[in-house]
Amino acid sequence: MIGFSDITKWIHDSLSSALSPGWVLASEFVLAGIAVILIVVVLVVVMIYMERKVAGFMQLRLGPHRVGPWGTMQVFADVFKLLLKESFAPNSVDKFLFNLAPILVLAVSFMALAPISWAPGLQLWDMNIGILYITAVSSIGVIGILMAGWSSNNKYSLLGAMRSGAQIVSYELSAGLSIVAVIAMCGSLSVHDIIMSQADGWWIFKGHLPILFAFIVYVIAGTAEVNRAPFDLAEAESELTAGYHTEYSGMQFGMFYLTEYINMVVIAMIGSTVFLGGWMPFHIYGFDAFNGVMDYIPSFVWFFGKIFMIIFFMMWFRWTFPRLRIDQLLKLEWKYLLPLSIVNVVIVAFITVMKWHF
């Protein structure tokens, strides 16, 4: 079986034979970037379709089913419509920031994809602080949202942006702490190392109850970080019409929409990498025959299966729960999740020191 590392090696070799080393690096950057963007855009298209079908089925509807077979072309039709629409900017907005905000938000969410390991040997940049990098970069996105809300010169947008700022800044903490629990156990920030440490079982199973708890906290905080219901206060349509992107239209709105889904992908990818073993198949320590069977399932199937499972959870929450109020949202974070996460990290540290984990 040809691994992904063979393919990347072959591309590298054939480029090196034709170009000077500097150009090889540059063209590899461009190729990798295009590849990641393409994969992510395809993922987003699938997710939007999935979201609409999930919502439809949960709401006793059929979901999109007119455009193309089973409505699969609906997303493309929507994107096409958004592309053709005029990106209208009201008179009183701060033009520069108004136009910059969607680009910034989108760029930041793409940046967070750099250290993700997609499959064995398929990783753009295995830096030694990968997880730290992702958490750091993904919190820049809130600046874009604040920028959008402030520059729109709309009170709804401003309120939405402020809510979003408060929310993301708060929930970053418990999301970070729940990742720290795993990092403490495996002892590395590098994405590759974290995945390899789960070769004999995923952390969610190896790490006793504290890691399971951390996973639940992570899913809650992750849902909050991407501003999805029940934490969608930033765009709460029954309160603030559309929140921070009230004034955006056309593809500028499309970019915010795209960002929401890419952020979901990022959250799901980190979740699956840290807790569910990334592309690592389901292994149980000692059961070699079983592990061998599991290895036959390709690694990228494992990875995307886990991603879509987490994404389905998020969608399921969205179409079931009512929204929280802003003070309840902050209370949940600061009074419950954060203290519990800190206690959890202490317990994890204790377990790690005593070497009680597998």
Binding site: L60, T241, Q328
Partner: protein
Amino acid sequence: MENNNNIPIDDLTEEFVVNIGPQHPSTHGVLRLQATLDGETIKDLLPVLGYIHRGIEKMTESLGYKQSIYLTSRMDYLSAHINNQACSLAIEKGMQIEVPERAKAIRIIMAELQRLTSHELWWGSCAMDLGAVTPFFLAFRDRERILDIFEGNTGNRLTMNYITPGGVMFDVLPNFASSIKELLVKVKEHLKEYEELITGNVIFQHRLKGVGILPRELAISMGCTGPVARASGISCDVRKYHPYDGYDKLDFKEIVIDGCDSWARYKVRMEEMKQSIHIIEQLIHNIPEGEFRAKVKGVIKLPVGEYYQRVETARGELGVYIVSDGGNKPYRMKFRAASFSNLGALKPITVGAKIGDLMASMATIDLVIPDIDR
């Protein structure tokens, strides 16, 4: 900012006015609320009305009595049958028309079905205002079935114009009783689902409990009626105290809860749905045979005088006040709309609360804007 005046920093925050509406997802129509906000907290609230003011009261003065009835379905369009019933009852009162028993039974069944549809829609939109979208579709499933029954029997789905002076427009279809029996079985099942999905939900309860507190005295002073008043411990069901169309012969409970908050208003409506089903079940097994409509003169003229008829719509007490000068047109017709009085309670219960609470209070007060503006 330079703080020269030794004002505490807290007092330097700037209030700003947000116009919630006239086009806003949670005002359910064209209501505009001028909210003065301090951050997320509401400091003042001023309802601005008139975006759907059609002058129904003026129109009735130039139309006849019969033509006025069809206008009433356009006021509180979720209680169209009940509005028609109120207007018909007022006219019957003036003309001393005796309504046949069969017509009375049909009227009550229709009115209670209408109350059911209205509460179902309220349940869905209440959950949607609080951010859950799925309940809206679950609620519309039953509402759709009831509207199908309306459509089959009356010819229209929303503004039926079915109840007229003297009875009802046409007799019900032969399968009326059986289709309603079938429907009620489903509605009862689905009411349990509603409890599972939303009523028990801890987020939902936290959004409503202790929010929008309307004390009993304030509710009385504000002239609140219907579920809003009954959730504040006021016993004011018109069907009990001023029975019409034979409600006095039926067995049903008036739901009064002393909670005073949005959660109590929610509970009152949920229980009222069960009571409506109970009322329909008493009638549906034996609708009296006979005429469905008493003979009424072609041109309706009320004797000189003033007539006031009240009924219990899904939102509270609807009063029809007719001043007649003996002619074939009403001299003055005033509709005392339930939503209009209930709207007054919105400001005192939301000032000091958060924007999210405003939506919760507005959702549980259940305003219908054309009813406010008329």
